[in-house]
Symmetry: D2
Subunit: 433 residues, 4 copies
């Protein structure tokens, strides 16, 4: 499985023009059924309800991350900056390609409700009984574990890890450009060729040559814009809240022994928290959407309504709060008022916070998670980016709170509820008349 | 339902930048469940197996056709060329938006196997018991029928019809630009703003001002390129052939009383040719993909193998022929040779011809289907485009035949078959050793 | 001259796709010789020595500003937000088109050396004996003065003025997009369609609907990037410094009675500070470049060397300083050291500061010059942008100093100078060996 | 001069994103004054009067041709298809960079009137007493002559020549993409990355792998569109005709001993047909434009009027003819009628034919000039492109005649001429009333 293809293969890609594959290993991994499954999982979950162009899959993105990694390594070699061993080269490429392979359908809602983690599943897929594992094994017997270590950030060479997950890694560079392209917005664009030119291996870090400061600043600003304008868009989050409520309602009904018209075979292992790798891999967004469609016809009023809302894009409205909503007294009072007009707040009041998102704006090191960005100065010293850039400092200095409470305005206005209580609810939710 | 929205709504669109909605009617139609269902049907069917970016839905395209129509009508009004009555304006916009609403999952394979027609379903959805029908009815009681007439090309005013379906209509203009964008190819791009400027209502025809001849020539060449480079791509067609065989196998098994592990509830009405509108609307690509996934584990070897091929992109190879394959003697001989090595040719030999495609290159009027393009000359006479353009004449003059026979090369080479017969088959299929 | 054209005229424009002209007034102004002259003056002065694509003219940009204004007014009308009187509509369009008409060749160097101001010349062209004046006069006898008042920011209706010159005016929107396009960088791009949608006339101000906050933030960040990455690029500024020195040397030689080989007829009125409107209009970049070419062969060593440097792009190097260079002691010492090795510091040491530039980053109102940007909140109150945006606040809060001293490193290293003094100079200029 | 730069240099380029320079030779050539002079000569001559964005210089284009060549050679090496010797590699790169170095201002008009040829001047610059020559000489003493041989198509290795000048060479690929970008049209775009992938050295030819047929077809169609929509645009040609007449008038006046107000020093060697290399190199478009500006004030009525027309874009109208105009009787009659109303036909009637252009549509070998395009078939045979492509065949099969006669309609309508004769002229010129 190791070795070069007789002839280079290419994929036409809207973002990188072409994706080039020369290693047999990469070609085989792309053909593995676990990788092909990523075609059936959207990159941006529910964002397509807001930006109809955002229908691209994780397959799409994974190829892009691989291509950026390939170009970055080629740059290093060509300009005699650095050269990995053949195994570490393949390690970088494989980890880039496979870093998202553990994702399930609508991961974020899914994981929140069912307490699973895609990072965990990625590891299972890499080291478990899968086609991907067998292909990686062809390189060497510990290669699958090495790939898992790189993705899990425990690999011995931190430079390799930082190519995949740092503040300026192949993953983020691809998703900004890709999500920008498919949503049709311009916010996430930046000059990736220049960024690739100013990135430098420096000891065990990936750093930025000081002349590239403004280019990186532009990348950070692009990320900030995408965060607020796309990833955290209120309409997208409304769909996400409803999805979560659907999963919760279905699980609760199952636990209560409810007789589904269409038995949710694929979800039961999740409801029972006993899901196997094989069962997990059978889940994709067509499975999830199949059940959504079926649940539009369930007898249970709540599940049926929520499913119809999701499928037909009849979403919740929201009100914004500066503080975390859960903790405050008035949330309990609104719950009670909802009960009083016959709406179950457990399924019809949803709280959403930016911290529910996997995306984050730049932080200058406060969380150990992602290495900050260092500038390599003319005297070979390293300076953390936000020390030099007022823009980056402004973004990384402050946390922005933007908590939202989602609720079904249409229910309140359907004419079947006590008008005084509805009035009171709307007052508290500051609904503009 | 008729009337203007208080505030214009916009959709961010990668192709047209923004899609503008000012009419309440259009806003309501977009919200209808039958229209939202188009989100779950890909615009280019199986093309995503070749061009991974081509994951965009018919929802996407339908909004685009509407937007082009809106701009075209605005142009006419603004430049005082023409003005439709308010009802005909809404008719044009609605027909543009809804022209594809009858499509099912992977329509072309689907329709071929199950003998349904999306045009027929479009009519049912417009005039049947649907949300779309109720919304259209709000304009006037015969409005749903009028929309159906426009889409069905029987409407009394041929000018209206030609805006939706002629050689240079809103439908084609959108799909060329859109499919170009999502595939990441450049082939289908043309200067739509210039085309919109040179289109002129002329009696009951939509014609092109003679100064726009080269712009239209460019559009026709774009179409020709997309046809050969994208729509009729051999890999896409291979996936299409396999899909057809899957549907056929499932149908045949059902007819033979085979006991499915997962009972194909949603397909049975199709197998029995007794499907209702409600059952049809429940079918989308997540439904189809759900069954594909399940069929990957069926006991029946053929159905299982074909489903796995489709899901994991393990496709057929092909050989090209100048003549229609079905008619010739050697096809029967190859069938026999396949039988002799234990491969069922009914499911493992697939013929595909360009005429199986809904797309066509420009024809100068040989089929009555689509009005040809007329140039409006300085003396007010009309000249058919191919009379003036050598490029268009070259494309429209000749039919290109490009029949392909698809077969599973991997089966022939799996080492379990009689090597002499395999040799003979490969010789006849001209497989390069 | 007032009235509509029989048929709309269009210009193909790379930035706005098409520029549409429907008013005879605008068509005639574009044809005026004073406006055609803008074809011979580059929009970005010497930037083309850094970004070879930046060869676009002020003609280009002026059409773009007009087009943005036209779209903005059309938006207001179409969405029933606002409607100017016919005269004020023409006033907005004319002022947009003509706002830069007074520019001379390489304005900034030019104005610094010869103490002229393009704003002053703009006024002269509008109200003086010119084709432009005669065309404007066709609207009404005080129309030329009104256009001058709008451009000069003294017009009675501040809303009109703010469309042309405020922090988010048609001028800036065009130059960011246009300079981005021609330089081939991506830094200055932003979503202009969205900005046009969220701009609102509000009393006598042009404000931004609060939902557009992030879009405007993106525009401000784009401006900031262009400022540092393009407008203030060190190589461009080096060429600018040399140009200034050339003009100074030529003027000084003239004053000293030097006999030019090619008598600088076109520059003498400038040297003598007695230039007429007609003489000014005869100056464009081909005139300036013609003399540069000639001066490459002058007897005077300094003028010849400087001209050759400019024409053949043999530029000065620079060293950066935190403080204003002029004021400090060591500048005088370096001057002396230069004298000591036979290099005239008056023409071979050049200071450049960002404040020499007409572009500025966003300021929240510290200078009265440009109205700050206000957000229109849901409760109809106005909030200044930097109060809401951490990014804008970070940019507008601080002044960045970036003074540079330019000098001819090649001279110091030509092997003809006292090595000890050269060593000392290089030490002081921190030249890396 | 031979050798690699310590650090790669890049130029930001709108068309190719970045232009990469690693060879000291190339870096030095770019810095040579003869190459920098190309900054002062526009790539598309007078096209900017039609497409205001088309202000890009030959400097711009020359860098682009070099970059395409660099990428093509890198492709060949990387994919182990072919590798030139170090000298031939530098030869390819230098020839690509310098192929246009002999161009003068507005070459086509210029050469027609003054009987010079830029190819000839290119040779002089390469082998004469120039900076470029000295730099090339640094490679080897016969290197300048080799570069001249490649550009002159007499070099011994035809493969090298065909990279620079064949039907699908680096020159044409760059100008199509570049002219498309700067004009803002979309006509000339094609997938250059794919073309570079399918080009193959094959013996002494550059051929196209058969799988790339449609990509090349698209390139040929792009060329065809650019030819008709941009290069041969009637407005551009009108400016070209006027320019020719200006040069002719100035030359005729000089020959007749006319006393110019501004003595045309730079043009006299041309008028006298005795121009030296040094004098030629002093000519660029700023020189030409300087004289145009001066001639706007000449006493001679004809020269003054023509110069004003060119400078202020007051162009001639035209009438089209199927046959060559010069030969026909009526041209003589129109000449006489012009004389009769006091307009000198020698300077006010201009004939223009497509064959006056350096661009041509694809020809399948009828002229020996440019090698046709061959497809490399699976069996290693070569097939000429137009044998396989109906589109290419349609373009290459026929010559299109499109002769135009340009004349000053405004003169005829200025009210000072005999109305009957004017009527007669307009009738013959088919002017629409």
């Amino acid at each position: 499985m190791v070795g070069r293809l007789r002839e280079e293969k290419v994929f036409k890609d809207p973002v990188h023009r072409y994706i080039h594959v020369r290693d047999r290993l990469i070609w085989d991994l792309i053909g593995a059924s676990e990788f092909q499954r990523l075609r059936r999982i959207r990159q941006l979950g529910t964002s397509y309800v807001t930006f109809h162009g955002a229908e691209h899959s994780r397959f799409n993105h994974s190829l892009g991350v691989y291509e950026i990694m390939r170009r970055l390594l080629a740059q290093f070699e060509q300009r005699l900056l650095f050269s990995f061993s053949e195994e570490e080269r393949l390690l970088c490429l494989s980890a880039a390609l496979l870093h998202d392979i553990g994702h399930g359908p609508y991961s974020h809602s899914f994981e929140k409700v069912f307490h699973t983690e895609h990072e965990e599943w990625t590891r299972h897929i890499l080291v478990g009984d899968t086609q991907v594992n067998r292909i990686l094994h062809g390189v060497s017997s510990d290669f699958p574990h090495k790939v898992a270590a790189v993705i899990g950030k425990t690999y011995e060479n931190p430079l390799v890890t930082s190519l995949i997950s740092s503040q300026i890694d192949a993953d983020r560079m691809d998703y900004l450009l890709r999500d920008t392209y498919y949503t049709g917005t311009n916010y996430g664009s930046f000059d990736i060729e220049r960024i690739l030119r100013v990135l430098r291996p420096h000891g065990d870090k990936l750093v930025v040559k000081h002349t590239g400061m403004h280019a990186v600043e532009d990348y950070i600003a692009a990320r900030y814009q995408m965060y607020w304008q796309v990833y955290f868009h209120r309409v997208t989050r409304s769909a996400e809240v409803i999805l979560r409520k659907i999963f919760e309602r279905a699980r609760d009904l199952y636990r209560d022994g409810y007789a589904f018209q269409w038995h949710p075979v694929h979800f039961i292992p999740l409801f029972e928290q006993s899901i196997t790798l094989e069962q997990y891999l059978a889940l994709d967004e067509s499975t999830a959407m199949f059940y959504m469609n079926e649940w539009c016809n369930e007898k249970d009023e709540i599940l049926r309504d929520l499913a119809q809302r999701f499928v037909n894009r009849r979403l919740f409205k929201y009100v914004e709060y500066a503080e975390k909503v859960e903790s405050v007294e008035w949330k309990r009072e609104i719950d009670e008022l909802f009960h009083a007009v016959g709406i179950n707040p457990s399924y019809y009041l949803g709280v959403d916070s930016p911290s529910d998102l996997p995306y984050d704006v730049y932080r200058s090191g406060e969380d150990g998670d992602r290495t900050p960005i260092y500038l390599l100065m003319p005297d070979d010293s390293l300076v953390e980016l936000s020390k030099r850039s007022v823009i980056v400092e402004s973004i990384s200095g402050k946390r922005q709170y933007d908590h939202k409470l989602y609720y079904p305005l249409d229910f309140l206005e359907d004419g079947t509820r006590d008008p005084n209580i509805v009035e009171e609810i709307k007052r508290r939710l500051r609904v503009q008349q």
